[in-house]
């Protein structure tokens, strides 16, 4: 399979001496939906900045579809579409003009640009707003406009830096559908997000970056398998005074109130086993939900481990 992105020993030290990237290496396969996660200031946006040439790297090699970004500037840019974190279009221009102008920067003939502009504005539910000034759009519409603009030249690789930040849940879900469809049609997507549920839902592979280093780089499935325990909130159909004795079962629980309790279950115990435990103890369950997203638990544990290791060093 072709490699969409190959990053080797990438370093970036800003003029003020801040080391944003400390030698990261990463590969993303063509057609992948890849999550790049990390806390604020971890180096995600710097990595994206280097890929999009807005940030000058201090060292290392970056290749997009096998072409070095330093020696094949124009070819690599043609393959790349970027949706940045911050709104970065002119607030005074019309929606259609913003997309048409971007097409012009890619050297697209006007007739093709108009066709693509309509295609993507319709797909992203912005066609009715095409003659509106961009400053009059809602936050969600502005984000969708940035996606339409990034897609107008139909890049093979799309990088989305927190595309759903501040977007309501309904819109977020429709954007997930759109991105899934786009990925299925062959576009490689790299996503950074603070919504771990989003990464878990959409991405097949994941890298976690912290303090300028990659602390995890694996498939989403393998990562989730590594979760050794999970915590649930159990809602009760019949109130209880106190929690029963769980015997040797690999669980620990805390009563929240007479109508609910929190239970942490080892990965070795199946859901059927868990429900048998409840039945054997006459616990009537009305609802069961994860206390937190599974990926969130793993994300935090990986960061804790990585920070522990660097403290030991």
């Amino acid at each position: 399979m072709t490699t969409a992105i190959a990053i080797k020993d990438l370093t970036k030290t800003y003029a003020n001496g801040f080391e944003a990237l400390k030698g990261i290496s990463l590969e993303v396969e063509q057609g992948d939906f890849f999550a790049l996660l990390g806390p604020n200031g971890a180096g995600k946006s710097t990595t994206i900045g280097v890929l999009s040439t807005l940030v000058k790297k201090s060292g290392g090699i970056v290749e997009i579809f096998g072409k070095n970004v330093d020696s094949h500037v124009y070819e690599t840019k043609l393959d790349l579409g970027v949706v940045p974190q911050e709104i970065n279009f002119s607030q005074f221009e019309r929606v259609k003009d913003i997309v048409m102008t971007q097409a012009g920067y890619y050297g697209m003939p006007r007739s093709l640009a108009a066709e693509r502009c309509e295609k993507y504005l319709r797909k992203l539910d912005l066609w009715d707003k095409r003659n509106d000034r961009s400053r009059t759009l809602s936050g969600g519409m502005k984000r969708r406009l940035m996606i339409a603009r990034a897609l107008v030249h139909e890049p093979k690789l799309l990088i989305l830096d927190e595309p759903t930040a501040g977007v309501d849940i309904e819109l977020r879900r429709s954007m997930w559908e759109f991105l899934t469809e786009l990925n299925e049609s062959g576009t490689t997507i790299i996503l950074t997000t603070h919504y771990l549920e989003e990464a878990e839902q959409l991405c097949r592979n994941i890298a976690i970056i912290d303090h300028g280093r990659i602390v995890e780089n694996t498939s989403m499935r393998a990562l989730l398998k590594a979760l050794d325990k999970q915590t649930y909130i159990v809602e009760l159909a019949t109130p209880i005074e106190s929690l029963p004795n769980w015997g040797d079962a690999p669980v620990s629980a805390t009563l929240i109130d007479a109508h609910s309790f929190e239970i942490t279950v080892a990965a070795t115990l199946t859901m059927s086993g868990l429900f048998k435990l409840f039945l054997d103890r006459s616990i009537q369950v009305s609802a069961l939900r994860s206390k937190s997203n599974r990926l969130e638990q793993l994300f935090l544990s990986r960061l804790d481990n990585a920070r522990g290791e660097s403290a030991d060093v």
């Binding site: 040439t53 807005l54 500037v73 124009y74 002119s90």
Partner: protein, 257 residues
């Protein structure tokens, strides 16, 4: 890669720039026309009628080339500096930076945008001047060449200012404290023959003095400076400023961290 992609990218930048300043024509095209008209009325008509001849011409006739030149200089410069800095400020410059447009095309696009505004304002001012004087052009080729070169030089200078600017204050410092004094001392309103020898030598260090005089030569056929030297200076400034802009763009100065 599309056929003619560089030309399409260049055309896109120019259209965007022209669309920008024509959209806000009340801020960009009307004020210079009003200001220069006031110069015509006050200096040319009211004060000028008491001054009499200047350099062998009616005072109004004498100042018109300088006033047209002043409008072109100020508007070429301010179009590029304000537009490019606004792109930086709103981060919309990233649109063009992430795309495969070569830096030379980005530069040419913004420069031509600035030139178009400068020349359009120059044309408006010339039109206003026709209400006051029956303008004759003695050397059309020189007039056109010098106005094009001047618009280029000041568009390039505005681009450099925009690259280094970090705030809106930074884009008004040069026009206020450097450009305006140089224009006023560049012989727009007087002939250098009126100055004492020392100040004539000082004027010779002012590049705008050469531009104004060469432009006046195109209209009236008289000049305080050798025309060849003036063209040499204009071409030299154009080449050096273009090279500097391109070098700064390639380094990513003010644009890429």
């Amino acid at each position: 890669m599309f056929k003619n992609h560089k030309y399409i990218a260049f055309e896109t930048i120019v259209i965007k720039e022209v669309r920008r300043f024509t959209r806000i024509w009340l801020q960009t095209l009307v004020p210079p026309a009003i200001t220069i008209s006031l110069y015509f009325v006050i200096f040319g008509n009211l004060v000028g009628s008491r001054i009499g001849d200047m350099g062998g011409f009616d005072y109004m006739e004498f100042i018109i080339p300088g006033l047209i030149m002043m409008a072109v200089i100020q508007n070429s410069y301010s179009n590029v500096v304000s537009s490019f800095f606004s792109h930086k400020f709103q981060r919309s410059v990233e649109e063009v930076l992430v795309s495969p447009v070569p830096n030379s095309i980005i530069l040419c696009g913004f420069i031509v945008g600035g030139m178009v505004r400068g020349l359009l304002v120059g044309a408006i001012v010339t039109g206003m001047a026709l209400f006051f004087v029956d303008l004759q052009i003695q050397h059309p080729l020189i007039t056109i060449t010098v106005i094009l070169l001047t618009a280029t030089v000041f568009s390039l200078a505005g681009f450099i200012n925009a690259l280094f600017a970090n705030s809106f204050d930074d884009i008004s410092i040069i026009p206020t404290f450097v450009l305006t004094p140089l224009i006023y001392l560049g012989g727009v309103f007087y002939s250098s023959a009126l100055l004492p020898p020392f100040w004539q030598s000082v004027s010779a260090l002012n590049p705008i003095f050469y531009m104004v005089n060469t432009f006046r030569y195109g209209f009236l056929g008289v000049s305080d400076v050798p025309i060849g030297a003036a063209f040499f200076i204009l071409i030299l400034f154009s080449v050096v400023l273009f090279g500097s802009c391109l070098w700064l763009l390639n380094r990513g100065t003010g644009l890429r961290s």
